[in-house]
Amino acid sequence: MSALTREETQALIQEVLEVYPEKAKKDRAKHLAVNDQSVEQSKKCITSNRKSLPGVMTVRGCAYAGSKGVVWGPIKDMIHISHGPVGCGQYSRAGRRNYYVGHTGINTFGTMNFTSDFQEKDIVFGGDKKLDKLISEIEGLFPLSKGISVQSECPIGLIGDDIEAVSKKQSKALDKPVVPVRCEGFRGVSQSLGHHIANDAIRDWVIGNRDGDESFQVGPYDVAVIGDYNIGGDAWSSRILLEEMGLRVVAQWSGDGTLSEMELTPKVKLNLIHCYRSMNYISRHMEEKYGVPWMEYNFFGPTKIAESLRKIAAAFDETIQANAEKVIAKYTAEYEAIIAKYRPRLEGKKVMLYVGGLRPRHVIGAYEDLGMEVVGTGYEFAHNDDYDRTIKEMGNATLLYDDVTGYEFEEFVKKVKPDLIGSGIKEKYIFQKMGIPFRQMHSWDYSGPYHGYDGFAIFARDMDMTINNPCWKKLQAPWQQPADQEAAPLAASA
């Protein structure tokens, strides 16, 4: 159970809100809540997906980040043009570590940056001619690309360029899909709308490409892995489990994925969704148009993996169900050894999370498998349906924070005193300097994979080496330490 009672947590929220002016306090109060598992619908206790107001610090991204960075970017055999000024593409280039196999610059382009590098004259006279020329140049330099997507940056929408017309013309000329994506950064309140726009672009320009083409040999056990971006190899460590079960993974969306995989997805028997937030839209569309059912799963930590494998197997026949049990049995000794090794070192440690997408709820099971407890969690850009799913996973009287501000997060941490924080690069150094062990949970702190049984071993090792690192005892100068205490624990200096 959590160390704080419901009243204490409520009081903590009130205390943190105290510094705000009246209006801001009223607004922020709606985004902070004490978890109550008896609440069925999250909208009764927490507000989400609202615009962040100027004056509070937010770590949210933009629609372009959601489309180019998350959904489209990892599709490795397409070229994604960051259409607009050079910075948006360059500063986000390859930062998400979506691993892939291939020869970069020959047949895969994941870590490269293509941009139209807008100048003043392009803003004044329009950039359509430049885009047209750019696409022709790409075709000349990289003839093995399977398609091109045009990811709009803010100015494109502001000056009213007609990227659709250019795309259509070039698509015909090159005989390749050229997909215009209207993901200008100013749209929506966070990257979440970018996911939606990207999904809609896939729906309109990709999904229907092979309708009526029956040349693909469909099998009874075809599945697609959707919403796994292969960060540090996540999709690979998930995929092997599904394949060991006897399923055939037709497509990976979109980590290490290809355009043709995506076009074939409507022909699978079941869509498996890991990141619900960014890819539920396309799954709903495939269910409606092609009758492909979808299912959410969770491959973090052995408890949730076993649960998910059984749930996935239940959608197929008895052979698969028997295989699922075999897979779980095969890895049991392996993960029990990991738990036996790390659990004594991590037992009872408290964790606070603040990430995006699926992780604030999906990794809870993995921490619990190691005997750790998640005492606070929150999303950057979740909607109500994400919180609906989170409330059940979190313990009673734990903290929930939506689009938390820099100030609030720091105050919560000072009061709750967790043993570990899992968040992103923007939070990392603040908390490390406060003397609190920190892991980046967006990029796995340049480690990974964390999905699957193989990933769990790495996850457990990483958490141990972060929390039990001797450096946390060295934060205070020896002459400042109280004499009766060998090494002051963390937060003493904060």
């Binding site: 619908q41 997906n49 939606h196 709903r284 269910e287 409606e288 109500n384 349906d385």
Partner: protein, 72 residues
């Protein structure tokens, strides 16, 4: 008049999903739900009411339909 996607969940209940609003609710009751037609007044578990002209024959779910707000 939002576009609403109606789909069945694992338990067999109908879900009422409005993509623009990210609203997903379970349908509590449908006025007309028989072999000939489907529609009329639809009440959701959160208490809101929506209306659609009865469709005949009943549509196959999942499908997207245009609903009106019940109080319009």
């Amino acid at each position: 008049m939002p576009n609403v996607m109606i789909r069945k969940n694992d338990a067999g209940d109908l879900l009422f999903y409005v993509a623009k609003k990210d609203m997903e609710e379970t349908i509590a009751s449908v006025e007309l739900d028989n072999a000939e037609q489907w529609g009329g007044e639809v009440e959701l578990t959160d208490g809101s009411r929506w209306y659609i002209d009865p469709i005949s024959p009943p549509p196959a779910f999942p499908t997207t339909l245009r609903f009106k707000r019940g109080d319009e």
